[in-house]
Symmetry: C2
DNA sequence: GCCTATAATGAGAATCATTATCAACAAGCC
DNA sequence: GGCTTGTTGATAATGATTCTCATTATAGGC
C-alpha cells in the first residue's frame, strides 16, 4: 500500500465515494502501464476481472474525483492515465498507425520555457490556462 | 480561385481523385471558419448542401490527400481543419468548458527549440516523428 | 455530341465506443 | 439481524462514424 494509494483513498473520500476492489483494480492497472489505456484495453489488462461497463463507470468516477485524466485519440477512443499530481507532468508520443501512446518527459529547461510561454500566450488571448500537453505524432518502433 | 485552391486541386490530382463540387464546398467551409469543425458542424455550416454521409467521406478523402487534418476532442468528436502546409503551423488553446479550439502561434525561437527537442526525444524512443502540437487547456474568454 | 468506363454520391443499414437502466448485491450503521 | 445507501454488471439505448449499394456525374474516346 504505497503512499499514492493513501492519497487516492483520501481524494475519493473527499469526493464521497468508496475505494472499492474494482476501483483499486483499475487504479493499479493504470499505475502498472506506461501510457494511457482505453476502457477496453483496461478490461484486457485486468484479464477480464472487471466488466467493461464497470470499467467505464469506474473511469468516470475516478475522473470526477481528479484521480485520472482522459486523453482523446484517433477513432473516437478515449484513453485514461493517472492524473498529473500522481503521475508527474509529461508529454506524449502518439503512433498514427496503431494509436499507441508513449509517455515522455522533456528536459527541465525546455519545460520551464514552455510553461513561461503558455502563460504568456494565454494571457494575451484572454485564456485562463490550466495544463498543457505536447503531442508528437509519428510511427512507433513496432509500426515502422 | 485563390492560390490555395490551385494547390489543393493539384494535390488531389496527385492523389488520383477529382476536386468535385461537394469537395469544394467542404474545403471552402473549412477555409471560411476559424477553428476545426466536425462533420455535423460542417453539414450545418453548409446549410445542408452536402449530406452528412458525404461530408464524412469527403473528409476522409481530403485527409488521405493531406489537405485537411483531424483534431480529436471530447465526447468522441473529431474535428477537421486545413492541413498545416495550407494553414501554417500553429498550436491550440482548448476550452475545457465549451470545447472551442483557438489557434495560436509560438514565437519562432521557442518553435525552433521545440522542433529540435522533438527530433531528439523521438530518436531516443525509436519513434519516427511527424508533426507535433502543443495543446493548452483552460477556459476561454467567454467561459470565464 | 454520344458512349462507355470509372469515379463519386446519397440514403440507409451496420458498427463500435460510450452511456443509461435497473435489478441484484455489498458495506456501514443501528 | 434489519435498514439504508452506494456499487455492480448484464443489457438496452445512444450517437458518431463507417459501410453498402443502387444511382448519378464525369472524363475521355469516338
Ligand atoms: Mn501519459
Ligand atoms: Mn488549428
Ligand atoms: Zn504503432
Ligand atoms: Zn469556452
Amino acid at each position: 500500500m504505497p503512499v499514492q494509494d493513501r492519497q487516492i483513498e483520501e481524494r475519493l473520500a473527499e469526493a464521497g465515494v468508496r475505494y472499492t476492489a474494482g476501483r483499486r483494480h483499475v487504479v493499479s492497472a493504470l499505475e502498472r502501464v506506461d501510457g494511457p489505456l482505453s476502457a477496453a484495453e483496461l478490461h484486457l489488462e485486468m484479464g477480464g476481472a472487471v466488466p467493461v461497463s464497470s470499467v467505464y463507470r469506474t473511469l468516470a468516477v475516478l475522473e470526477e474525483a481528479g484521480v485520472v485524466e482522459p486523453h482523446h485519440g484517433a477513432r473516437g477512443i478515449t484513453r485514461y492515465e493517472m492524473a498529473e499530481w500522481l503521475a508527474g507532468h509529461h508529454h506524449h508520443l502518439v503512433c498514427i498507425e496503431c494509436g499507441a501512446v508513449e509517455d515522455i518527459e522533456l528536459p527541465a529547461p525546455l519545460e520551464v520555457e514552455l510553461e513561461r510561454l503558455v502563460g504568456q500566450v494565454s494571457s494575451w488571448a484572454s485564456f485562463s490556462a490550466g495544463g498543457h500537453s505536447l503531442e508528437v505524432d509519428g510511427r512507433c518502433a513496432r509500426c515502422r
